[in-house]
Amino acid sequence: MTRDKFSNASLMACRIVAILLGGYALWSGTVVLVGVALSSLPLGSGDGIVIASFLGFFFYLGIVIGGFAAPLRWRPATVIVVLGTIAVFLALCFAPEGITP
């Protein structure tokens, strides 16, 4: 493998990992935030999290498909990682008080 090829392959691997892991962070954070929002509704115990988790799968698939739909440049991967970090930060701030166990 030439040096250029190796460099390209490792860059592509980094971007793929960024999309998958950043997407996972965004998925988890968003599930908690949506769960918190739904917990304010008159639902049964833990129902908000169940609904949020159900929607979460499709959200994650959307992130991955969206992330790979564009050519593998850095922009989509970066956006996903930044949004994921924000979602996790907000979840840590709001969740302990917001979720009905």
Binding site: A25, G44, V50, F54, A69, P71, V88, L92, I99
Partner: protein
């Protein structure tokens, strides 16, 4: 990035790239999970085939109640002190009593009781379908949480492949009606890949989504539990407790229990509550006694699969073991019921045999879809001459080992089950562990064989599979006396069904192997003609 490896700049080709590479990289994992899931559809029937001591007649009704069962198990181990008992009463697909008893040191012991006499059944000596195929399906038989994680990833990948597969197919309706087996391998394998993908599309989507839904809250909670600091762990706990609705936990008090109340009347009481609540007869199918020797002991009575309908139950009533006082009564909410219904679609514990067979067919179609995806990729690359022979050979070796190799290893698992004598042990492994060890050894050998024999390994392994399937049926007859006529006369449908599926598999394997051999011969003849050498053998196609 070189243009060769660069994903395309428009949506559909990008999805094609994602579909191809995720399928190729995860194909082995997906096939294993799918194939093991397909076998798990009939896990109870495979259990009865692999554990002949459980081949009771269809009449599973027992004269024993839960207190009798506790006494029977207690009399088997008079010196032991148990802290926990979980009791599953007999049912149509598993016509014997199952008791998991936990010793005070935390070790579990399995007891299986004859539903009529109450006699303890001998040690199984095999993990069977539930202990091995099911465990491979849900966690690849790996310790810890790693296996769960990998299978979850496979589930997400399956959904991704289904969605991207739909996006990249322009002619989804014509795919429904197109299969040209007489065409070249590249074309016919793509036809079959599309056909199985399109016809069973709703099944593939449903089975991947319902599998993921079973532990829906767990995935996010794991993420937060690994974050540094206390906040993450607190969020994880909240997510987990929300996900585990219906879990009742009370720690042991550390004081010895007095006389515990009889359990059977508590079961009757719980059933009466459910009957009044739902307006139809309800019965408990799982009873769990915790901290039995402690003053804080309690019993949880559940309807896990109410009346063998699709929905997985949340109904659970908890009683104090010292006083008989009711401690908790969990009822499903509308959202929970919906979630448990989707999970129930995956567990397939409902009483509907045609639907169960359709699940089996859907699972096999999924396996075929994954296998033909592999074959198409290799055939297309070989045709275009895009890859070095070594790379094509590597992918072909992985394809063979990942698909037919797993099936051959399963055949070895069944044959070994009938060959090993009771109580067999070697290399520090007991009989059940030896079965599993030989499964993995056979699987590894399938990869090695594919590496040496290249394209011919498909036919070779198909012949081996046919031989294994026939051997398994004959060995079952020889070791238990249960041949097909005896099992059908004795209404042992579980055993007869497994035998029939094995014989059908053998016939299909022979047909495939002979077709593959003919194709191989034709290709060799064509090459020789091109080189101007004399042709040996008959060209069939």
């Amino acid at each position: 990035m070189s243009s060769k490896n660069q994903p395309h700049s428009t949506f559909r080709p990008s999805m094609g790239w994602l579909h191809t590479w995720s399928g190729l990289l995860l194909g082995t994992l997906l096939f294993t999970v799918f194939f093991m899931g397909t076998l798990t559809v009939f896990n109870a029937e495979i259990d009865r085939w692999m554990q002949p001591e459980t081949r009771f007649s269809a009449d599973f009704h027992t004269a024993f109640n839960h207190d009798d069962i506790l006494e029977l198990v207690g009399s088997e181990r008079p010196d032991a002190t148990f802290s926990r008992f979980s009791i599953s009463m007999p049912e149509a697909r598993r016509p014997f009593v199952v008791v998991y008893a936990q010793h005070e040191d935390g070790e579990f012991e399995l007891f299986r009781l004859d539903p009529k006499s109450g006699a303890l059944l001998p040690e199984a000596g095999s993990y069977g379908g539930t202990g091995f195929f099911y465990q491979m399906h849900i966690r690849l038989f790996m310790p810890g949480v790693a296996g769960w994680w990998i299978v979850m990833f496979a589930g997400l990948a399956m959904m991704l492949l289904v969605i991207t597969g739909v996006i990249i197919h322009r002619k989804i309706i014509s795919d429904f009606f197109t299969f040209r087996p007489e065409k070249k391998l590249r074309r016919s394998s793509l036809d079959l890949h599309n056909l199985t993908g399109v016809v069973f599309l709703p099944f593939h989507f449903m089975i991947a989504l319902s599998g993921l839904m079973i532990f829906s809250g767990w995935y996010s909670s794991i993420f937060f539990s690994h974050l540094p600091g206390e906040s993450g762990k607190r969020v994880a706990e909240l997510l987990y407790s929300a996900d585990e609705y219906g879990v009742f936990a009370r720690d042991a008090l550390g004081e010895p229990a007095g006389e515990i109340v009889p359990v059977a009347p508590l079961v009757d009481q719980a059933e009466a509550i459910w009957t009044a609540r739902y307006g139809e007869p309800a019965s408990a199918d799982y009873v769990d006694l915790r901290h039995m020797a402690d003053a804080n002991g309690y019993v949880a009575i559940r309807r896990v699969f109410p009346d063998r309908r699709v929905e997985q139950g949340v109904d659970k009533i908890v009683f104090d073991l010292s006083s008989g006082e009711q401690l908790a009564d969990f009822q499903p909410t509308a959202v929970r019921s919906a979630q448990k219904w989707i999970a129930g679609l995956h567990f397939i514990q409902f009483e509907h045999w045609p639907l169960r067979w359709l699940y089996f067919m859907g699972g096999l179609a999924g396996c075929m879809m994954i296998a033909t995806g592999f074959i198409f990729w290799t055939a297309a690359r070989r045709k275009k001459g895009k890859l070095q022979p070594f790379k094509v050979r590597l992918v072909e070796c992985i394809s063979v080992g990942s698909t037919i190799g797993v099936v051959v290893a399963t055949g070895v698992f069944l044959v070994v089950n009938r060959l090993l004598p009771n109580g067999a042990a070697a290399f520090g492994l007991d009989r059940a562990q030896l079965e599993v060890g030989l499964f993995f050894l056979a699987w590894i050998l399938a990869f090695v064989h594919a590496g040496f024999r290249k394209n011919a390994s498909w036919a070779d392994q198909a012949w081996v599979l046919a031989a294994l399937c026939i051997s398994a049926v004959l060995l079952n007859w020889a070791t238990t006396g249960d041949h097909l006529v005896a099992t059908t006369n004795g209404r042992l449908w579980a055993v007869a069904g497994v035998d029939l599926v094995l014989l059908t598999s053998a016939a299909l394997a022979v047909w495939s192997a002979s077709r593959l051999r003919r194709r191989g011969r034709v290709r060799t003849d064509s090459r020789m003609r091109l080189r101007g050498k004399p042709v040996i053998g008959t060209a069939v196609e």
